[in-house]
């Protein structure tokens, strides 16, 4: 944009026909009109393009906020990683987030775990051939290692995200696993066991049964921020919390509470047992304990100090934002969203819930899912162009300053 004519000598300016002020003013106004028209056309083109992107990137039939439970916002559903039948999720029963935001889903019918990018596109598969392992449940540690409860060979198997088996150890009838720090909490059909990340047993408790200290299939586990162990005692319809050394902190509903609830229900009161078959659980950034109950078709927020249900979200349905036997829930603090294994609907749903305690920066992480890096290319070009223009302008000013005294001296 530098003014090359500023270096024109007075003689040249006078002798040039274009120096005629009327003519040059006419050309200038013509140029203004042309540039204005070009700018308007480009703006219209940009707006059309943006509208086109919005239309294409919004899934067909995406639910409105009024279609989902109040306080819950649907983000997307993941049905599979391709269009063929063999690439569709089939009864996913567990879900977890990797530290890089990868959405891991188990595909037990095909003996594998499938990893999806945060934008729902396919990333990778962890698989060692048919029949090698039955990934009934799994969790991902902060160092991106995948702990799989292999119900086929009754082992905990640890995999890297690039499908390498790192180690494994034997355990009893594993149905669920949670990892936090250096602790691996394994829920079993007949008890609970805590290991370190290398597989050394730290503490184990419980037998199968209905008593206070017994369990009957643990289908949900979580380790609280303070190290408390939480489990869904699924077939006993209750939730329990244990201290780090395996001592029972609370059970909800307790036997007395369950009896009182049943009696109230029999009398026609509205009180009913809080859980039918409590399953997967997780913690969010607000340190809330979240649970899914497949038979209630709901996400439940529990008080971690008592297990009492504080709030519920969701309802039965096939459309987005509804659930068909949800069995697992996971939370991604970076993007402040939850993934739910919506088992009977053969999908994973990504949703956001109010009061999750997510950082305001999570909005940036959510938006930057997808190939945002490509946007940097033209923006870098624009930046370079601006820098070059500024430098050239400075240089041209400098040249003027240098020329002005010489022009005066020539006078």
């Amino acid at each position: 944009m530098s003014d090359i004519h500023s270096e024109t000598t007075p003689e040249m300016a006078v002798s040039s026909p274009s120096a005629n002020p009327r003519q040059s003013s006419k050309r200038r106004s013509r140029l203004r009109v042309v540039l204005s028209v070009v700018l308007v056309i480009l703006m219209l083109l940009l707006m059309t393009l943006v509208a086109f992107i919005v239309k294409l990137s919004t899934p067909v039939g995406a639910p409105k906020s009024s279609d989902t439970a109040s306080g819950m916002q649907w983000v997307r559903s993941i049905y599979g990683w391709g269009k063929s039948e063999g690439q569709q999720l089939y009864g996913p029963s567990d879900v977890a987030f990797g530290p890089d935001g990868t959405i891991w889903v188990n595909d037990p019918q095909r003996w594998q775990l499938v990893g999806f990018n945060p934008d729902g596109s396919f990333k990778t598969i962890v698989h060692k051939g048919p029949g090698y392992m039955m990934p009934a449940a799994f969790d991902v540690s902060a160092d991106n290692q995948i702990y799989i409860a292999d119900f086929r060979s009754l082992k905990i198997r640890v995999f890297s995200a690039d499908n390498k088996e790192l180690r494994s150890w034997d355990t009893s009838l594993p149905t669920e696993v949670a990892v936090r720090g250096d602790r691996v909490l394994v829920g079993q059909r007949d008890g609970v066991a805590v290991y370190d990340t290398k597989g050394a047993l730290i503490v184990k408790w419980g037998t199968r049964g209905r008593g206070k200290d017994q369990v009957d299939v643990v289908r949900g586990t979580a380790i609280g921020p303070d190290g408390t162990y939480y489990i869904s005692d699924t077939q006993n319809h209750r939730v329990k919390a244990y201290t780090t050394d395996g001592k029972l902190k609370w059970v909800y509903p307790s036997e007395a509470q369950a009896k009182a609830m049943a009696a109230a229900a029999a009398k026609g009161g509205k009180s009913k047992k809080p859980f039918q078959i409590p399953a997967g659980m997780t913690f969010d950034s607000a340190s809330r304990l979240l649970l899914v109950d497949p038979f209630e078709f709901k996400i439940m927020i529990l008080d971690p100090a008592s297990g009492k249900v504080v709030k519920t979200y969701g309802d039965y349905g096939e459309t987005d934002g509804k659930f068909g036997y949800p069995t697992s829930i996971a939370y991604d603090p970076t993007r402040d969203w939850y993934a739910i294994a919506d088992t009977a609907n053969n999908r994973v749903q990504i949703v956001r819930l109010e009061g999750s305690g997510g950082s305001p920066l999570s909005a940036i992480s959510r938006v930057s899912t997808g190939p945002v890096w490509v946007c940097a290319i033209p923006l870098i070009l624009l930046l370079i162009a601006i820098v070059l223009a500024v430098l050239r302008r400075r240089r041209s000013k400098q040249t003027h300053r240098n020329q002005e005294p010489s022009g005066t001296s020539a006078d």
């Binding site: 004519h5 500023s6 024109t8 540039l35 086109f52 067909v60 039939g61 559903s77 490509v374 070009l381």
Partner: protein, 254 residues
């Protein structure tokens, strides 16, 4: 004095107008918008949003499955009708219209199933009168086809009791007609339409509740109560039926 022309040349500059600040701003603006267009284009290409590799919502999933069905069964009016209905449910009305045209072209005739979906599409687009006309046409054609089939079977010596010839299609058409007539407060006609739906699918609690609600409007509480109670035998604790009974109780109390 020779310094003056130099100054004049610099400010006026120039045939191309490059010294004009407005032209500069316009050029910078145009260049910036061009860069943004380039950015958006690159994003579209790299994000592959023109053809997502897998469905991202329930409706996309349904549409994909139904596209497969019509490819496998191109002569099935039911398949085309389901496909069009899925587009209507996803509020993709132009696509629904295109599917109906494709279906009619392949099958060669506007079947009652496709006419019913046309009626739904008209209603979804706000043309209730056209919707009502189409749904009534669909019912008429279905009835005529049934009579023809029964007559043909009779000619072959097969006796068919007309009361046993029932179908989802007719029930659905009766339900839609009832909805449209009820919205126009044409209560007796709405009852007649809902009765078609109930006759076709007697165990459908929704149809019973809708007819019951119209009976309330007609002050025929006894018939309304019978419908709500019947609905409750099919779905115990069915909320719309319970609230219908509550309405009757409140009405009689007043």
């Amino acid at each position: 004095m020779r310094g003056r022309p130099l100054a004049r040349t610099r400010t006026n500059s120039t045939p191309t107008g490059s010294g004009d600040p407005i032209i500069k701003y316009l050029a910078i603006g145009a260049f910036s918008v061009f860069v943004l267009i380039l950015t958006a284009t690159l994003w579209i290409i790299s994000a592959n949003i023109m053809d997502p590799p897998a469905p991202r919502s329930y409706h996309e999933r349904q549409l994909e499955l139904l596209e497969t069905v019509v490819t496998q069964k191109p002569k099935s009016a039911r398949a085309w009708a389901d496909y069009a209905r899925a587009y209507i449910a996803a509020k993709q009305y132009s696509q629904a219209a295109r599917v109906l045209v494709r279906g009619e072209k392949i099958i060669g005739v506007a079947t009652p199933e496709l006419t019913l979906e046309r009626a739904r599409l008209s209603v979804a687009r706000g043309d209730r009168a056209e919707g009502l006309k189409l749904v009534q046409n669909s019912i008429k054609v279905t009835t005529a086809l049934r009579q023809k089939t029964i007559a043909e079977l009779g000619a072959k010596g097969v006796t068919v009791d007309p009361r046993t010839v029932k179908g989802d299609e007719m029930a659905s058409a009766g339900d839609l007609e009832g909805d449209l007539l009820a919205a126009e407060k044409q209560w007796p006609e709405a009852v007649k339409a809902y009765s078609i739906a109930v006759y076709e699918k007697p165990a459908n609690a929704d149809y019973l509740v809708k007819r019951g609600a119209v009976y309330i409007e007609m002050k025929e509480e006894k018939k309304a109560k019978a419908d709500f109670e019947k609905a409750l035998t099919y779905i115990p604790g069915f909320k719309p039926a319970l609230s219908g009974l509550e309405r009757i109780e409140k009405g009689s109390a007043q």
